[in-house]
């Protein structure tokens, strides 16, 4: 699955949304959304605030009731048991004395935390923390982390699930430029290595054009979907954002200094 075939056949689809409709308090948040997430690729959902992007991810996670169908077949067995999720806003009680190491252990360790963290799990957690360049945070309390640090720890937590499908809701929000670059590079690298499917919400068109292999433009309805260069036309962007955005030059990373070497940044593949 290193080179995803962009002319999708259904066997290459990790998740397909079929006429998914979500209504809350009489307001249509998702209006008959049909979209696919190609297997092994990096799919980005873009759209303005309140477009229903987070809601679309939550329907997939089973947190929001919906009408329609969602088929998730992101592993060879035809299921989608392992999902890693990085929420947009991680609301938690900051007074709680939980260390980052415990935070990473609590989902996978059987032995209760009051008997400490087993060496094996500690080592594993440190490896995942190192992969997001945050091993120095292991003994800190999670309530004492900055927004960007928390975001990295959450990514480590999601990766630790060894997911078939990694769902990220604006993962780079609050992460500094270097962090954002690490996020995208890291995810591209891991995706190549482990072959998971990535589904993310992003506001940053530059990130999307560089990293996504597939884009879903959403504003309650699907305005367009497909490879970034085909989906992100001026008309589509005007349609969903309501004004002329213009196409982002795919050569410039935010800040203009770094270039992405991930497989999906390759222009030939995106075109």
């Amino acid at each position: 699955m290193n080179k995803p075939d962009l002319m999708q056949k259904s066997a290459d689809t990790a998740v397909s949304f079929e006429k998914v409709t979500v209504e809350r308090g009489g307001i249509l948040i998702l209006d008959s959304v049909s979209a696919i997430v190609p297997i092994g690729g990096c799919t980005a959902i873009i759209g303005p605030n309140g477009a229903g992007k987070t809601t679309m991810l939550l329907t997939l996670l089973g947190e929001v009731p919906y009408k329609g169908f969602i088929h998730a077949t992101c592993n060879i067995n035809g299921g989608c048991s392992k999902i890693g999720y990085v929420p947009q806003r991680f609301a938690f009680d900051r007074g709680i004395p939980v260390t980052v190491a415990e935070f990473l252990a609590m989902g996978i360790q059987k032995r209760p935390l009051w008997f400490g963290i087993s060496n094996k799990i500690k080592k594993r957690s440190l490896e995942y923390l190192a992969s997001v360049k945050s091993e120095h945070l292991a003994e800190r309390k999670i309530g004492a982390l900055s927004g960007g640090e928390m975001q990295r720890v959450l990514l480590a937590l999601a990766l630790q699930q060894e997911p078939d499908l990694l769902v990220l809701d604006e993962p780079a929000s609050g992460v500094d430029f270097q962090g954002e670059y690490i996020f995208c590079e890291l995810l591209d690298g891991l995706r190549r290595e482990k072959g998971f499917t990535q589904l993310m919400v992003s506001h940053d068109l530059a990130t999307v054009t560089h990293h996504a292999t597939h884009v879903i433009c959403l504003n309650h309805k699907v305005a367009a979907q497909g490879p970034p260069r085909q989906a992100l036309t001026n008309e589509t962007l005007t349609a969903i954002f309501g004004m002329h955005m213009g196409m982002v030059d795919s050569r410039s990373m935010p800040g203009g200094s770094a270039t992405c070497s991930g497989p999906c940044c390759n222009k030939d593949q995106n075109a």
Binding site: L58, L61, G62, E63, S81, K82, I83, G84, Y85, P87, F90, A91, F92, D93, R94, G95, I96, P97, V98, T99, E102, F103, A105, M106, G107, Q109, K110, P112, L113, W114, F115, G116, I117, K141, G143, A144, L154, L157, A158, Q161, V167
Partner: protein, 288 residues
């Protein structure tokens, strides 16, 4: 029925206070040493889940539980915990099935069980006198039988905590994330609510309806201030609750005190809390 007198004997040996030579005091001490850590450890999660209002509602359903027993002439010792369990699971089920806020749901249950209890009590004057026991607690009359039930509950509690402490922490931090990472959130929540309801009902005997929530919350809140990790929070809550229970019972039996046992235990726990606040100030690494 198993003979528990060796246990009472050990308690009297370990705590050589004059007041602990009486058999009923030894029973009360064993009952408290079983009950207090259960309440405190569950309290850690009650604080994490912000469920103190939930435990309040359960404890106040004690009235209605006793009233039901009187109506159907069943021993209130049975109707009280069973009714509490049903109310707890009922609240959980309604929370899962509707989009109403949990405060609203619990508030409705709360009013219903209190109104029902009061309605029955107001019909029957003789019951009204009995109700005092539930307001202030009555640990000194705990029977051998009650202690055997407490031991059974304690074993269930230890198994549950050993299996679910980590996952409950996950759910308490953020249930959406826990669910996405394939933790069976609803199952854990139901088991937790059921066990909590039973422990709350037993605690009503010990400290009375008014102070049950304090028995859960105060040691857990102090433990939060002392602990530097989620693991040590558990141990701190156990230490604080057991020492409060022992000290509370002994103080309440002194001639100069002769206070209600439940209230004295809570006062000692509150004293622990004040120390914990000072300690966290001194450490200055606490958030908030």
């Amino acid at each position: 029925m198993p003979d528990l007198s060796p246990i009472y004997h050990i308690v009297a040996q370990l705590l050589p206070f004059e007041c602990l030579q009486a058999g009923f005091m030894q029973q009360a001490m064993v009952g408290l040493i079983l009950l207090a850590p259960m309440a405190a450890a569950m309290g850690v999660q009650v604080v994490n889940f912000r469920m103190s209002f939930f435990s309040d509602a359960i404890s106040h359903s004690a009235f209605a539980g006793v009233a039901l027993g009187l109506i159907f002439s069943i021993n209130p010792h049975w109707t009280m915990p069973v009714f509490g369990l049903l109310v707890g699971l009922g609240i959980m089920a309604v929370q899962h099935k509707t989009t109403l806020s949990s405060d609203t749901i619990i508030g409705v249950f709360f009013s219903a069980v209190i109104a029902f209890g009061l309605a029955v009590v107001s019909r029957d004057r003789s019951v009204a006198r009995d109700m005092q026991r539930f307001l202030y607690g009555d640990i000194l009359t705990i029977s051998n039988n009650d202690i055997i039930w407490l031991i059974a509950l304690f074993i269930a509690f230890m198994i549950f905590q050993a299996l679910s402490y980590n996952r409950l922490l996950y759910i308490g931090l953020n249930s959406t994330l826990a669910k996405a990472h394939s933790i069976r959130v609803a199952t854990y929540q139901y088991y937790f609510a059921g066990l909590l309801a039973l422990i709350v009902m037993f605690s009503v005997w010990a400290v009375g309806v008014l102070l049950v929530t304090a028995l859960l919350i105060v040691p857990a809140a102090a433990a939060r201030n002392f602990a530097r990790s989620a693991g040590s929070m558990f141990w701190w809550s156990l230490i604080i609750s057991i020492t409060s229970a022992i000290a509370g019972l002994i103080i309440s039996a002194q001639d100069w005190a002769t206070t209600a046992t439940g209230a004295t235990i809570i006062l000692v726990a509150c004293f622990w809390f004040i120390i914990s606040v000072i300690a966290s100030f001194i450490r200055r690494d606490s958030i908030r």
